[in-house]
């Protein structure tokens, strides 16, 4: 089971609360997207689940509290794709993706033939096998994003946290990345929790949306329930039209004031 439960989770930095106590249940295999204006606390929620930010309250994956795990055990359950992953230019794609096997190795352990086989399969799956020997610095933005996803997949963790997966990608690559994640989610039964900036795409790919504003959860529901003109206007202070697209979800279109 890879359902994720947050109970009264709050985060404070230097005494300033940036995330108010939050209760949230994400079912195993679900895609839940966190949306909200800049500074709403979307990334903070992801960082708390990955234990990159200290939090109060309880976060449980399956039936285990994340605080009860050691760092490697946590990384075997939760993989995180950062918004702007640090990609070392000189490192090859295969070496970078192989680092994703770290949670399965001892402190001074070396990767086994099985680890290399898993990585080879992930690279093939993401159409990166032709790039295996290429330095990361020679990849395009979209290829780098795929390499980062490959590294997260090599962790074989059932919960995937993604922070703004489509930042700085063109519309075609945004679609390709999200389709890929969705396909992997369905085939592997991954639980996906994503911080999403682009509302139309968030609505199209997510089962549910959690709308955060000023560090508080203000709405939780299906995309149809959350992506309303009044809701977006109130919390984003934006003038938008929400347009139904013949069964392909809704489009959130800004309109000029």
């Amino acid at each position: 089971m890879s359902d994720v439960k947050l109970a009264g989770v709050s985060v404070s930095y230097d005494g300033v609360e940036v995330l108010a106590p939050l209760d949230l249940d994400v079912a195993s295999g679900e895609w839940l997207s966190l949306i909200g204006p800049n500074g709403a606390g979307k990334t903070t929620v992801l960082r708390a689940i990955a234990r990159l930010a200290p939090f109060a309250g309880e976060i449980v994956i399956g039936d285990q509290a994340v605080l009860s795990w050691g760092a490697r055990e946590l990384a075997r359950h939760v993989a995180m794709l950062l918004q702007e992953p640090h990609i070392p230019d000189g490192m090859s794609v295969s070496q970078y993706v192989l680092l994703g096997r770290s949670p399965h190795l001892g402190y001074l352990g070396r990767e086994s033939a099985r680890d290399r086989r898993i990585v080879a399969d992930v690279l093939r799956r993401l159409s990166l096998d032709d790039f295996a020997a290429r330095p990361l610095g020679q990849l395009s933005g979209g290829e780098r994003q795929r390499a980062a996803i490959a590294r997260a997949l090599a962790q074989q963790a059932p919960v995937l946290l993604i922070d703004e997966p489509t930042t700085s990608l063109d519309v075609g690559r945004q679609q390709a990345v999200l389709e890929l994640i969705d396909e992997l989610r369905r085939e592997e039964g991954l639980t996906v929790i994503a911080a999403m900036h682009e509302l139309t795409l968030a609505g199209q790919y997510s089962d549910r949306l959690a709308l955060l504003a000023s560090g508080r959860l203000v709405a939780l529901g299906t995309p149809a329930e959350i992506l309303t003109e009044s809701m977006i206007s109130e919390h984003y202070h934006a003038d938008v039209r929400v347009v139904a697209m013949n069964g392909s979800g809704t489009a959130v279109v800004p309109v000029r004031r």
Partner: protein, 350 residues
């Protein structure tokens, strides 16, 4: 992703770093050549045949045998240990701090060693402790104290996951130790020349004592750094990413820094604060061969050792019978060579 199917056929994963055989062979050859040069060259001419006979237990003139076994061989071995240690300690520091300008003295090891040695030279010349000269012991203690102080200070300032806090603590500690060292040096004018000579670096010629003093530290330190080469590679991807892979940045940094510092303190204690080796050797390897620590650690060990043995040989022969400080040679030869390598390769890959 629990269900990724694992194929049974062997898979060759292209692009994984490995130590190039030719470069490893070149490193061994360079080290051997440097050792031969170090044994042959000196104010007294001794031929190759004599050196070989001495090494294989053959009959050698007692005077020449004494020069080889008491002076040149231990000095060559000491050069190997000091050069190899400074080079891999530099590589290790650059790895854990993700900072290309890091060197083994980043956290104040040199300043601490200088202060320890200066105090010993100024106030206790000729003193021995359990049969050992007090100067290297004081330098070792000073280096360890400075780095330990920087670590404690860095931890209290911002926690060990912050590179910047720790580096700034090292800068502060080095500045403090340097100021005290300068005060002592200037106020004890009788020993100023000796202090200055020690600071610029000079391999001691006290037979095998120096070798035996540093050998255990260098072996343990080099082994620890060698075993951490995968984790040093992992540190290249950034602290949050490494942490999310279940690797404790704090633990890796602490273990590697302790190991590199112990080795550095030991070699600085007998060789003085020889500059530049810990910067130019690892970066030259990165520029010419590759960035992975699978490559950088073993080749830095070999080429660092060869470089320092050659530098020491030059230091004691150029103005023979007088000796130049070895730090003058390492910087004078190393800097132009390093600039030439940078200009001929892609410096951006540092």
């Amino acid at each position: 992703m629990q269900g990724v199917k694992v194929r049974s056929a062997p898979v060759v994963l292209r692009g994984l770093p490995s130590l190039p055989v030719l470069w490893a062979a070149a490193g061994v050859a360079a080290l051997l050549a440097a050792c031969v040069a170090g044994a042959l060259m000196g104010p007294v001419h001794i031929g190759v045949g004599t050196v070989l006979r001495a090494l294989t237990g053959g009959v050698v003139d007692p005077g020449q045998a004494n020069i080889l076994w008491s002076l040149r061989f231990p000095r060559v071995v000491l050069g190997v240990l000091v050069g190899g240690m400074l080079a891999i300690a530099g590589a290790a520091y650059q790895g854990v701090f993700r900072n290309p300008l890091a060197d083994p003295y980043l956290l104040g090891a040199a300043a601490g060693a200088n202060l320890g040695a200066t105090l010993a030279i100024a106030f206790g010349p000729g003193t021995t402790v359990i049969g050992l000269n007090i100067v290297p012991l004081a330098a070792f203690a000073g280096a360890g104290a400075a780095v330990a102080g920087a670590y404690v200070l860095g931890q209290t300032v911002s926690g060990l996951r912050s590179n910047t806090g720790l580096i700034l603590a090292g800068v502060a500690m080095a500045a403090f130790f340097n100021s005290v060292q300068t005060y002592v040096q200037q106020s004890q004018t009788g020993s100023i020349r000796q202090v200055y000579s020690w600071i610029l670096g000079r391999l001691v010629t006290a037979g095998w004592d120096g070798v035996l003093l540093v050998l255990p530290y260098v072996v343990v330190s080099a082994l620890v750094i060698f075993l951490h080469r995968r984790l040093l590679d992992a540190m290249m991807i950034g602290e949050d990413e490494v942490t999310s892979l279940g690797i404790s940045v704090r633990r890796v940094r602490l273990i590697v820094v302790v190991a590199a510092t112990l080795g550095t303190a030991a070699v600085v204690a007998v060789g003085g604060t020889i500059a530049f080796v810990g910067i130019i050797i690892p970066h030259t390897i990165r520029l010419l061969v590759g960035r992975s620590y699978t490559v950088v650690v073993p080749l830095s060990l070999l080429f660092g050792a060869a470089f320092l043995v050659l530098a020491d040989t030059a230091a004691r022969t150029i103005l023979a019978p007088a000796e130049l400080p070895i730090g003058v040679i390492t910087a004078f030869v190393g800097a132009p060579f390093f600039i030439a390598v940078m200009r001929s390769t892609r410096a951006a890959s540092l």
